[in-house]
């Protein structure tokens, strides 16, 4: 408990430190870079840490941020996007809020897969009943989402599209054929662009996935390896998928070779260190590179 208290104290101090820098240009610049890397690497862990830090710092300077709309919007956008990246580590309430109010923001993130994120979140929940509670909450609240998911169309909001979808396909688990037909009709009848169709597909797939209870094989989130009659299968969504054979090319390179190039690289890095002042970011970066080379080269071989 003592440890936790210390952690909280330290964290508070750090938050105040960041809060002081929130309006600094260089900080904004660095934050952009880091944020881009987090998005590019789909880095859940760092997204969550950064999210916590930013939310706490923004709370400290709330009134100033409200006065400066531009900066406030900048941070708000970052925070929402970070929440999407860190979705598997968010609390249930935060996820429900995200889906209810910001579902469409996911489309601003390249290659974002909300189904995968939700699946990861569900795996992080131990009790299946709790998984179902989250699904039920999401299913209920997404119907109240008033964001515009399509423009230049008769129906524009998330809630509007879902209601249209439900009116055509019903509240139960939708038949695949009917879903496909519905989407085809959207292109033909409503004349929607491919871009919007893709968004709607994501929305409907997400909504459909919420209908399956985790207590049923089809909604069961784990994919467990299982041996039946000496054959290996993976139990996935109510089905047993056989595990295929794998042929690995012969090599002894499980441990790295200390080759001449790498030794030379290490030497060059050592020379670089002296060029930068002690404690500078550049020096730290180079020192870390050297450390990595050192630890990487000292490995023992483990036969394959």
């Amino acid at each position: 408990m003592e440890i936790s208290n210390n952690t909280t104290k330290n964290q508070t101090i750090k938050n105040i430190g960041i809060a002081n820098r929130l309006f600094d240009d260089d900080y904004l610049e660095s934050l952009k870079k880091v944020f881009d890397i987090i998005v590019r690497n789909n880095d859940v862990k760092h997204a969550q840490i950064l999210l916590k830090v930013l939310v706490a710092a923004m709370a400290v300077r709330k009134s100033e941020l409200e006065a400066n709309k531009e900066i406030n919007d900048f941070y708000k956008k970052i925070v929402i996007k970070l929440k999407f990246i860190a979705l598997p580590l968010l609390d249930d309430e935060d996820i429900i809020d995200l889906v209810k109010n910001y579902f469409v923001w996911q489309f601003r993130l390249p290659d974002y897969d909300i189904m995968e994120k939700l699946s990861t979140k569900l795996l992080n929940i131990l009790a299946l009943e709790d998984r179902d509670k989250l699904k039920a909450g999401l299913k209920r609240e997404i119907l109240n989402n008033r964001e515009m998911i399509t423009s230049r169309a008769e129906i524009r909001t998330v809630a509007g599209w879902l209601k249209n979808y439900i009116s055509k396909l019903g509240l139960g688990i939708a038949d695949n054929l009917k879903r496909t037909q519905y989407l085809v009709d959207l292109t033909k009848i409503k004349g929607l662009d491919e871009h919007y169709i893709k968004r709607l597909k994501t929305l409907f797939n997400f909504y459909e996935s919420l209908k399956f209870s985790s207590l049923t094989p089809l909604g069961f989130d784990e994919e467990t390896p299982i041996v039946i009659d000496e054959k290996l299968y993976i139990f996935r969504r109510g089905e047993l998928e056989p595990v295929g054979e794998v042929k690995i090319r012969q090599t002894t390179a499980s441990a790295p070779a200390a080759n001449k190039n790498e030794v030379q690289e290490s030497e060059a890095l050592r020379q670089m260190v002296s060029q930068y002042p002690v404690g500078s970011l550049e020096r730290k970066a180079v020192e870390e590179e050297i450390a990595k080379l050192k630890t990487g080269g000292g490995s023992k071989k483990i036969g394959r």
Binding site: I37, T224, V227, I234, G244, V246, P256
Partner: protein
């Protein structure tokens, strides 16, 4: 009364029966009076001859039936009056003796229940804890011994009300009934002015028989209800101790609840039925008179002369006054039956429990059991169906029985579905032993497993015993399997002369094909050289070198094959041994696999639910701690204190945060951060370390946190599953399920499962998402603390999947810099061993400064060199978090 009449009016059954009877009677009447019509006169001649004989014969037969049904009715009415008056219900011998036995059994069961409470209290099963059950149990222990008296009081109360009405009609004995049913009018002629012919007599007698049958049915049904009521009150009084036991002990209550509800219904039915009997007998005549004359308008055959009675046929029963009284009496009694049944159901509901459809069907079926015995199958069947349709009371015993069976099947199905659902929960509950049940088959299989005697067996003998037996049987299957494997390996290592020739020829063909390609490529390379296209020439020369190497390999293989040739006798002997051993393996499987299945331990729902709750509570305490080092320290503390829920919560949290490698690097450093480290950690916390583990790191034994091996492996399986989502592929697929139990995977299974899983994402997605812990693992030297990185099989499989022109071309764009950096140290060796087979489609400047078509290694090197500033530094700058997030790197 108005409500009642309204009910009667609304009752389709009563109206339908009466209307049918009337129509039938008038039709027959029409036929009989047809003789008086001119149109029918032509047939008169016929009737005078053969017709007269037939009419006489039919009259005699119908007369005989009339006598039989008349006697039967007299008997039934007398019994009905006697039964209605019977009130000494609980003092019969059957009740007295039966109740004592049931009471004693219930008293004995208290000892058992006290034991159950004791165990439940120890095991913290709240549902059966002493706090919850004991007070009720003590109270009921007293009440059980007074159960007959309590039931007797309730019955007496019901009987007092009932006898008030019974005494009203029983005073005159059966005479009342005979008068009201107009039985004395059936064989009486009305004495009007119509002609009396042979056919009119026949028709009068037949309609009389029909009226008697209907009367008999109604009386019999009432009698059956009253008789069954008495019998059921006996039965319920005998079983009354169980009802009180049920109030105290919930598992028994499911069964005794029905007894209590049915008992209440029987109490209500008697008075209600007696009331309607009294009502019918006392008021039918008056009610009939109120309907007035002229209510029945005769048809063509009817006779209405001035102020005279209207009659149909010659029987006095079918004159308006008598017939009205008859049908009103019958109607009132049928209405009484219906209302009595409904009142009973309502009373049951008021008693607090309601009455299920099955109970009413059972009751009705039981009470009305006598109806098919009447013999008048067609009419009875019809009447029975209509009563069933209108009132819900089924007089048809076989049908009622069938409905009862269907209902029971429905209830069973519902219970089964509930169980299935529970089994589904078990299956989906997070990769632990629970999964074992359902994963080995359908949820139904799981349910079957937990509802069989096996569960009881496990409780008696314990899961450990069953585990031991399972291992014993497993060995009996594996022993011949191992021998078979040895034989097959021996066989794979030898060749017959014919096989040698075949394999030699195929290799020679390949050598020749390579030779042809070498000749062709040499010419091509020369042309390219001459044309100044040195890059192409170099590529072709590389290919020629590869082909020559391939030829050498094939030649070497032929030389090796020569050494494997043995005599044909040896081959025959080996083949024969393999065939024999295969048979033995199959036989062993057939014999022992069912025994293994039988010894799969059961799953404890309550325990698992409690465990999930405890882990959830622990998880909520640590949810805001992101510092991996701190979490690992907390984990060490929890292991030392053997706090299992905490260990699970922290391990899961670290895994969800993609930091599970921190656990293994710290606690199982020699096995590393991959699946082997995870397996060693799980073995350590469950005290199942092997000699190799202890030889590598003796301090591992300090990690024993008292986990059951399956419980620990369940945790490992959960972590392995979660690692798929963080792309720590080397730490996935650590466990597989076999015979309903978790087992560690070996290197081959691990590689197969992991690659199948990430294979479905496609090479490009993998290139983007893979990190160092997807491709390999960290190993730490406990003595020096020096950390090294090893490329794992899954990493090699991933590299293979990217070794194609398209992936190579995109690698700079797709692969992360961090991943590339960790791969660089392995590239030289991989290239030396010709691991990479393909080159990219675009020519470029390679890392050594030369120009050429890059292979995968070239692209990874280029990507690694792109990394100018480390992300962690940037991140630290932004968050100022003291901990180096990427320090493990």
């Amino acid at each position: 009364m108005r409500e009642f009449l309204s009910k009667i009016k609304k009752s389709k059954t009563a109206i339908f029966c009466i209307a049918t009877f009337c129509i039938f009677s008038f039709l027959i009447g029409n036929f009989s009076f047809a003789e008086t019509n001119p149109a029918a006169a032509a047939g008169g001649a016929v009737l005078d001859g053969v017709g007269l004989a037939v009419a006489t014969l039919l009259s005699w037969i119908a007369w005989a039936f009339t006598i039989v049904f008349g006697l039967l009715l007299t008997l039934l009415v007398q019994i009905l009056v006697n039964v209605a008056q019977f009130s000494n219900i609980i003092n019969v011998a059957a009740v007295e003796k039966g109740w004592i036995i049931v009471r004693d059994l219930c008293n004995m069961s208290f000892i058992l229940i006290l034991l159950i409470i004791a165990f439940a209290t120890i095991l913290r099963q709240e549902n059966y804890s002493a706090k919850k059950i004991l007070p009720k149990l003590l109270l009921m222990a007293v009440l059980i011994n007074f159960s007959k008296t309590i039931f007797g009081l309730l019955i007496d109360f019901s009987q007092v009300v009932m006898l008030t009405f019974v005494n009203g009609f029983a005073q005159n004995g059966p005479g009342n009934f005979i008068a009201m049913f107009q039985t004395d009018k059936i064989m009486t002629m009305w004495g009007g002015k119509g002609d009396v012919s042979s056919w009119s007599i026949v028709v009068a007698i037949i309609t009389g028989v029909i009226a008697l049958i209907i009367t008999n049915i109604v009386v019999l049904v009432m009698l059956a209800i009253l008789v069954m009521r008495i019998i059921m009150l006996w039965v319920y009084t005998i079983l009354s101790p169980l009802v009180f036991l049920g109030f105290a002990f919930p598992p028994v209550q499911n069964y005794t609840k029905e007894i209590w509800e049915d008992f209440n219904k029987q109490l209500v039915v008697g008075p209600v039925l007696a009331f309607f009997l009294w009502l019918a007998l006392a008021t039918a005549s008056d009610s009939s008179n109120k309907l007035g004359s002229g209510a029945m308008i005769s048809g063509a055959g009817g006779t209405a002369v001035g102020g005279e009675q209207v009659c149909a046929g010659i029987s006095k029963l079918f004159c308006e006054g008598e017939f009205q009284t008859f049908i009103i009496t019958i109607g009132l009694l049928m209405g009484g039956l219906m209302v009595a049944q409904k009142a009973g159901g309502a009373a049951g509901s008021i008693a607090g429990k309601g009455m299920s459809l099955a109970q009413s069907t059972l009751k009705a079926g039981g009470i009305m059991a006598a109806s098919p015995l009447l013999g008048a199958k067609a009419l009875a069947g019809f009447t029975v169906d209509k009563i069933h349709q209108g009132t819900g009371v089924d007089l048809n015993l076989p049908r009622a029985w069938k409905v009862l069976q269907e209902r029971r099947a429905d209830i069973k199905k519902q219970r089964y579905a509930l169980g299935q659902q529970k089994a589904g929960q078990v299956m989906a509950g997070g990769n632990s032993l629970h999964g074992a049940l359902a994963m080995t088959g359908s949820p139904g299989d799981a349910w079957d497993q937990i509802t069989t005697l096996k569960g009881i067996r496990q409780r008696i003998m314990g899961g450990k015993y069953m585990e031991g037996k399972r291992g014993e049987y497993q060995t009996k299957i594996e022993a011949p399997g191992k021998e078979l494997k040895t034989l097959e390996e021996e066989r794979a290592g030898v060749l017959s002369s014919a096989e040698f020739e075949g394999q030699k020829t195929s290799r020679e063909v390949k050598i020749e094909e390579a030779e042809n390609q070498i000749i062709s490529k040499t010419a091509e390379a020369k042309t390219a050289q001459d044309a100044g296209d040195f890059t192409k020439a170099r590529t072709l020369n590389n290919e020629i070198d590869g082909l020559k190497k391939e030829q050498e390999e094939k030649r070497a293989e032929i030389a090796d094959l020569g050494g494997k040739v043995v005599s044909d006798d040896k081959i025959t002997s080996l083949n024969s041994q393999i065939a024999k051993k295969t048979g033995e393996v199959e036989a062993a499987k057939k014999e022992y696999q069912p025994k293994i299945d039988k010894n799969i331990p059961m799953y404890n729902f309550e325990a698992k639910g409690a465990e999930a709750k405890a882990v959830g509570e622990e998880a909520s305490k640590i949810k805001d701690i992101d510092d991996a080092s701190e979490l690992v320290r907390m984990l060490e503390g929890a292991i030392a204190a053997k706090e299992k829920s905490r260990i699970k919560a922290i391990s899961r949290k670290l895994t969800a945060d993609a930091n599970d490698n921190e656990i293994f690097e710290k606690l199982t450093p020699t096995a590393g951060s991959g699946y082997e480290g995870m397996q060693q950690f799980i073995r350590a916390i469950s005290g199942t370390l092997n000699e190799k583990d202890l030889a590598a790191n003796p301090s591992l034994k300090n990690l024993n946190a008292g986990f059951d091996p399956q419980e620990a492996m369940s945790l490992g399986a959960q972590m392995a599953e979660m690692n798929k989502k963080t792309n720590h592929w080397e730490a996935t697929a650590a466990y597989e399920m076999k015979d309903g139990q978790w087992e560690e995977t070996d290197a081959e299974s691990h590689a197969k499962i992991a690659s199948t899983e990430f294979g479905k994402n496609g090479p490009r997605a993998n290139a983007k998402n893979f990190n160092r812990l997807a491709m390999g693992k960290h190993i730490v030297d406990p003595a020096t603390g020096e950390k090294s990185y090893e490329l794992a099989d899954v990493g090699l499989i991933a590299l293979q999947s990217w070794d194609n022109p398209t992936s190579i071309d995109r690698m700079l764009e797709d692969m992360t810099e961090s991943n590339a950096k960790f791969l660089v140290p392995f590239l030289k060796k991989l290239e030396d061993e010709k691991f990479f087979k393909t080159r990219g489609p675009k020519e470029m400047i390679l890392s050594d400064g030369s120009k050429g078509y890059p292979n995968l290694a070239d692209m990874i090197r280029l990507k690694a060199n792109e990394a100018k500033v480390d992300f962690s530094e940037q991140f630290e700058n932004v968050t100022r978090v003291r901990e180096k997030v990427n320090k493990k790197v």
